[in-house]
Symmetry: C2
Subunit: 175 residues, 2 copies
């Protein structure tokens, strides 16, 4: 029951701030995370349904007079553990920095968690290892295209590592 796609973690993180119904979760997402992550309403509801089936959250129907009832979702203990595991693990690829790693930083700040510097360091290590691998695989470069591809990877990786180092300053005082 492991999930590969990460929008689930965004929803879990939002529920870490307290129980909410679907629309409220989506509202939180739209107002605070839309800048760096996109999620449609229909997908949010579909994910919530599946996550409940997987036991990482539960819902309660809330009956209201003269109104349709709404479903309040809360995160379970299993869900909390899952979320905290995720938030403290580095991502595997540079391409995941923009959305997934950014979300981890976002929640660390939003939920006032400890360990910002720690996860940034772990992430730097992961990327530095990849950078070495890429730099050492220079043999198979035979044409202009391969050269361009190779230098693109190095450039992206290097600038990501520099950014991570800079990030440590932004998060150093409080976390």
């Amino acid at each position: 029951m492991s999930f590969k796609s990460s929008p689930e973690y965004a929803l879990l993180g939002i529920l870490m701030t307290g129980p909410k119904h679907g629309y409220e979760i989506y509202g939180y997402f739209s107002s605070k995370m839309k800048q760096f992550w996109h999620l449609s309403m229909s997908q949010a509801y579909a994910l919530l349904k599946r996550m409940e089936k997987n036991g990482i959250l539960i819902s309660k129907e809330e009956w209201q007079v003269n109104r349709p009832s709404k479903k309040i979702f809360s995160i379970t203990q299993a869900g909390k553990e899952r979320f905290l595991d995720w938030v403290h693990s580095p991502v595997k690829h540079v391409r995941d920095l923009r959305i997934e790693f950014m979300a981890k930083l976002f929640f660390i700040k939003e939920l006032k968690l400890k360990g910002a510097l720690d996860i940034i360091d772990k992430q730097i290590e992961v990327l530095q290892e990849k950078l070495h691998l890429i730099k050492s695989s220079k043999e198979k470069i035979i044409d202009e295209f391969q050269t361009a591809l190779h230098s693109f990877k190095i450039a992206q990786m290097t600038s990501a590592i520099e950014w991570l180092k800079e990030c440590k300053n932004y998060f150093s005082c409080k976390y």
Copy 2:
């Protein structure tokens, strides 16, 4: 009948080298483009089917004695025009450099087309404009997270532009 997703262009580009059947197209893809683009076999076949319906390619059944017949796909005039339009247009976002822009460079080299320097220049312009926009939107940065996000975008954008400039050297002699 415009398509948003770009794997179609990869298939079109492959057919620019001559008619091929599905398996052969996929083989070409796997051996030459897998490094920077992933496509599953089933999706390749599904796309080919849809592209034929859209008139950018056509197929001929090839009957063989004692064997199941195979379908040979060829690109149409409309398809060629579509492909060439695509290959000479810059992408809109930095995130599309890794796969889509790379594919354009790949095909320019592979099909020995003109205009490599031209499209690189256009791409630099697009990104430089975005970079200015990002740099000028500094007002709404209120916390460490926003600062981190902002500096990430600038770092990625800047390193991409540097890479593009470097690319011009790799492609300057022949194209």
